[in-house]
Amino acid sequence: MRRYQLMKKVLEQLGVEDGRVRLEWISSAEGTKFAKVMTEFTEQVRQLGPFKRDQKAAAGGEG
């Protein structure tokens, strides 16, 4: 948990925003929950789309 908290702070500085990282505990007996979390999260990341800063940088020219 502490690793996850620290990693989130580092990722935030690296432009990977909150909604792209999620930590869940799901037991092997919780198939329904697994499917629900994965579907939700996939949809959430799809909504966020590609990294925005990168798009802007690409418009400024390739290096």
């Binding site: 908290q5 620290l6 800063r53």
Partner: protein, 317 residues
């Protein structure tokens, strides 16, 4: 045996690597006994045209320091690769981007805007930026293109050996020169002038397994000279950094900043350190952990101080 032909170049670098070569002091005379220096911009007056005139493979060993920041760096890297039998990525900038690689936290436009428009000492009402080509009555002037990202040397050319350090220590440089002169080269791709243990393994400070309630920056505490710096709350990178520097920083009561990079088998030094550092946080609840972790100023910049372009993410997204 004919004398070795040696070259050194600086791309995006501070000059410290070149000074480190000079720090071998009087042994520079012994170096001149075994090697002819055929290109070294910081110390000797050679031009790019001199290098272009050499036959391919003419240079036996090229020590290349600095990251690839612009098209000039890439151009010279490719030229020296072609002219050198052995190309060494010399110092942390050439290997992982180093300090100049921290620019990958920003976008190119932000950097140019800061430097040419915003900075307090700049007056540029016409918003003039440097151009790669500019026509004047005497002809066309050229400047190198400033790249979107800082790159590592191995991103643009094939590299034979990697010699870490910011800068590599003089003792290691001399040891490596002797190995090169003997002709006993290690396998391609090897890290040279260093150990494959971590700095922690070689550190003589006392470790007690104590956990940390609060992190400090070096100026905020007077450290105990005998005890582990990490256990005293300093973000010492020793657990995830390759040894070989002679523990210079920790010997001077300063935390390791990680300049020798990760040991073999570790892909991402910063990620490894997240794991190591989080494990010493002494918190009973997530809220307390968050409070303690929030005491670390600029975690990403600290954990990737010498290696953002060479890390998994390579830049801020």
């Amino acid at each position: 045996m004919s004398k070795l032909k040696l070259a050194s170049y600086w791309a995006a670098a501070c000059g410290g690597c070149d000074v480190a070569i000079l720090d071998i002091n009087e042994k520079i005379l012994d170096l001149a006994e075994v090697a002819d220096i055929v290109f070294w911009p910081v110390a000797l007056d050679f031009k790019y045209a001199d290098v272009e005139a050499y036959a391919d493979g003419y240079i036996d060993v090229c020590l290349f320091n600095g990251a690839i920041r612009n098209s000039e760096g890439e151009h010279v890297a490719k030229l020296l690769r072609q002219k050198s039998k052995v190309l060494v990525a010399f110092g942390s900038c050439a290997i992982w981007g180093g300090i100049p690689g921290l620019a990958n936290f920003k976008r190119r436009d932000d950097i140019l805007n800061r430097v040419y428009i915003e900075s307090d000492s700049t007056q540029n009402p016409e918003r003039i930026y440097p151009q790669t080509k500019y026509r004047v009555p005497e002809g066309e002037l050229e400047l190198p293109e400033f790249y979107k990202d800082v790159k590592c040397l191995a991103d643009v050319v094939d590299v034979d050996y990697f010699m870490p350090g910011c800068p590599p220590t003089a003792a290691q440089i001399w040891a490596v020169i002797q190995v090169i002169a003997s002709g006993n080269l290690p396998p391609k791709g090897a890290f040279i002038g260093c150990s494959n243990k971590t700095l922690c393994d070689e550190c003589e400070r006392e470790k007690t397994g104590k956990k940390v309630k609060k992190f400090y920056r070096p100026y905020e505490i007077i450290v105990d000279p005998k005890k582990c710096l990490l256990e005293q709350g300093l973000t010492c990178m020793g657990p995830v950094t390759r040894a070989g520097c002679g523990n210079q920083c920790t010997s001077a009561n300063q935390p390791c900043r990680g300049c020798y990079g990760p040991v073999d088998g570790v892909i991402d030094q910063g990620a490894k350190y997240i794991s190591a550092l989080a494990s010493v946080v002494d918190a009973g609840t997530p809220e307390e952990a968050d409070r303690i972790i929030s005491g670390i100023v600029d975690p990403a910049g600290t954990f990737y101080r010498y290696g953002l372009p060479g890390s998994l993410l390579r830049r801020a997204k």
